[in-house]
Amino acid sequence: MLDTYREVVTPEGVALHLPAAGPVPRALAWVIDFLIRMAMVFVSGIVFGLLGRGGFGFQAVMVFLVYWFYPVLFEAMWNGRTPGKRALGLRVIANNGAPVGWLAAFSRNLLRVVDMLPFGYATGLVAGLLDPWGRRLGDMVAGTLVVHDARPHEPSPAPVKHALAPSVALRPYEQAALVAFGERGPHLTEARQAELADLAEPLTGARGTAAVTRLYGIANWLLGRR
């Protein structure tokens, strides 16, 4: 089955799914960061401009810092997220799912110089398109990965009140599917709900609306709503 995450198995045998992010959202995040950086340079330019020639040095230092350290600082100190990445729901982590450290943040951002070659991040773009996990060269060297940060969603309210114990023992994937049905079912059309519930006829022993209600009941039971 084709999927978009990188699977990392921890020493405890837990499979972590790291949903890798590709070039498109990353490019957008970069644009946002770029605009912020421009604004920073612009504002500091005004402030230091008041100091006359003496301000040039400070401005040069400022440009240097913004150019090289803006992403490093944000990634290392703000949980792997620059403002742009945060806006796009992205996060930089280490290859193995650990938080990104100072060293990795430094190396991946210093290697932007390579990824920018020959013009406009063309190298990084090609690397990102060809790599299964959308990494540019800097990521490969630093051993980092940009992932989509799952945003927690509110548990949806139960569509029916009662809970119903399933008549047979269900396997984990089946339980997951029934719970998903309980959560997402109300967003489907009624005909589609009935169509899906009809598939579970051996479990519910009913068809149509009755089957839908029973499936919701089973979902409630599986979720511990009694």
Partner: protein, 579 residues
């Protein structure tokens, strides 16, 4: 098409993750996509450029090739829509399908939809579902509206990707120019670009085409990923898959039982079901679809995979393509470019003249031109008188008032920081010198680094061999307890109990046996009271070890007393390996 044959893991994803899924699909089926893409696109590129060249409007060729992209976007879409269901089409199949598949939509996509920002999103809706008119519009709205923004951004980003690649390819040449020649090189390139000779236009077209060749399939794939995700969202494909699997499992498991029930209750309808579960499901599915189709007012349209992919497969042109092998392949690009070329030719007649064919015998013409220019009415001479100041006034006033307000402060700070920085450098150098005896050693040690110590890994104190049990166990335990080392007291009690239990049952415990394993072994103890006491000792230890909850002094004393009695601890213990 059957949903059971899906080769991608479906789950509700965010729109951006759907984009990743689409690009991952493109990556996986790269060979199936790019082979036919190149086979069709390369001749088209050559032909368009040749035509444009012959009409001397070469710059137009790039535009035409770019404009015709939707024609080729059908290729990745065709491959992906089939590959998702496990049938990766061969190059031949794909090529044949291009003769018919989706051509109905091409007029729209080559004209007013060409610049649509959500082209990649609507392409699968139109081409795969084959709906018409109002239904198609409704379908596009239902599927596209929640991800309209993402689709637009996707297009925008991909356009910039193409631009970046185009400039990147062009920039490779600059990379190999040594710095000292850079200015000279830049001047020459600038002159070349202004002159725009044929080869440089051709090269530019080629670079642009290469950029499109790389990005375009990913773009279409990403749109297809968005489409798939939307269908998963509004039709819950992933749930359907899992429910189908559950149905098959339950029916297989229940078949004998159902048969019995059927015989007992005389329910013949039920007995027929198990052998053909899939068919039954499908029938019910299509029935539901038809019911839904009639319900026009539904916001989310009715179509589901079976009727949609089913009908599409019917007119997909696979079979037609194979039948049509003998017919001449149509060449849509040719016609379009030809018309475009002739149209452009009329407007740029002057360039034709300069380039050559009309200049065979032009001496007379040139003489005539010379004579014409000699005529004073053509280039009249005029005298213009103006006043000019004798001494040019030096112009400086506007500079003066622009001195920034805090210039004095700035100069002061600059002075201070200049010397301050030098001071900092001096201090750093001094510190380095003073501490050199310390850090120089690191380098020396680094150079002559001793080989690593043995690879033995010591994970925790648990690996340490444990001290043998004391002779008088209860006294030792009580002493530990009195000293306030309750945890160690309970640990010793646990160890002693386990050892006694092991000797008594003559069981061999594996090293590092868990509490549960020990308890399981302890069932072999002959007396119920012994088993009970042992279990309580284990429980007390577990509470202490994992929950930091210690028994009260009396409880502890009672337990210890009972254990000592049951296992006869006051005498010397037999020595052996602790578990």
């Amino acid at each position: 098409m059957k949903i059971e044959a899906l080769t991608v893991a479906l789950r509700p994803r965010s729109a951006w993750e759907a984009v990743e899924l689409g690009t991952a699909l493109t990556r996986r089926h790269a060979a199936a996509i790019w082979k036919p893409w190149l086979l069709l696109s390369l001749p088209m590129f050559a032909l368009v450029n040749l035509l444009a060249w012959s009409f001397d409007v070469l710059w137009l060729a790039g535009l035409v090739v770019w404009w015709l992209k939707p024609l080729f976007d059908r290729i990745p879409l065709f491959v992906l829509s089939r590959a998702v269901f496990g049938e990766v089409p061969t190059t031949r199949q794909t090529l044949h399908a291009q003769l018919r598949w989706g051509l109905r939509w091409m007029p729209a996509y080559l004209t007013w939809r060409r610049l649509s920002p959500v082209r990649s999103l609507y392409l699968p809706v139109d081409l795969l579902e084959g709906a018409q008119g109002a239904q198609a519009r409704q379908r596009r709205r239902a599927l596209g509206s929640p991800v309209h923004g993402v689709g637009t951004l996707l297009t925008l980003v991909c356009v910039h990707f193409e631009l970046a690649l185009y400039l990147g390819f062009a920039g490779i040449a600059v990379m190999f120019v040594p710095n000292e020649y850079l200015e000279q090189f830049g001047n020459r390139v600038w002159k070349l670009l202004q002159e725009a000779p044929v080869w440089i236009t051709l090269l530019s077209n080629l670079l642009a085409w290469m950029a499109w060749a790389l990005i375009s399939p990913f773009y279409v794939g990403a749109g297809f990923g968005l489409y798939l995700n939307r269908r998963t969202e509004i039709e819950a494909w992933d749930i359907e898959l899992a429910l189908r699997r559950m149905r098959t499992r339950l029916l297989q498991a229940a078949a004998p039982l159902v048969l019995l029930l059927a015989i007992a209750l005389a329910l013949p309808a039920r007995a027929q079901e198990p052998p053909q579960p899939a068919q039954g499901a499908e029938q019910s599915g299509t029935a539901a679809d038809e019911a839904e189709d009639e319900d026009e007012e539904d916001d989310i349209p009715a179509a589901t995979l079976h009727d949609i992919f089913g009908t599409v497969e019917d007119d997909s042109g696979l079979r037609d393509g194979i039948d049509a092998q003998k017919t001449q392949p149509a060449e849509p690009p040719v016609e379009t470019t030809a018309t475009a070329g002739t149209a452009g030719n009329a407007s740029t007649g002057t360039r034709t003249a300069r380039n050559g064919t009309g200049l065979a015998d032009d001496r007379g013409l040139r003489n005539a031109v010379k004579r014409a220019y000699a005529d004073p009415t053509v280039t009249p001479k005029r005298k213009i008188v103006t006043w000019k100041a004798r001494a040019e006034e030096p112009k400086k006033p506007p500079q003066k008032p622009k001195v920034p307000p805090l210039a004095g402060l700035g100069a002061f700070i600059a002075l201070v920081s200049e010397y301050g920085l030098w001071a900092v450098v001096g201090v750093i150098v001094l510190i380095l010198l003073l501490t050199s005896p310390r850090w120089l050693r690191w380098f020396r040690r680094g150079l002559t680094r001793a080989p690593r110590e043995s690879d033995e890994v010591r994970r925790s104190d648990a690996d340490e061999p444990q001290a043998p049990l004391p002779d008088d166990v209860p006294t030792a335990i009580r002493r530990l307890w009195r000293e306030g080392r309750q945890r160690e007291a309970l640990a010793l009690m646990y160890r002693a109990s386990v050892e006694s239990m092991a000797t008594r049952t003559q069981a061999v415990l594996v090293p590092g046996a868990t509490e549960a394993e020990v308890l399981r072994v302890s069932r072999r103890l002959p007396l119920a009271e012994e088993r009970d006491a042992f279990a309580r000792a284990v429980r007390a230890w577990q509470y202490a070890a994992y929950a930091q909850r210690f028994p009260g002094a009396e409880d502890f004393e009672r337990l210890l007393h009972e254990l000592a009695e049951r296992f006869a601890w006051s005498t010397a213990m037999p020595r052996g390996a602790t578990p």
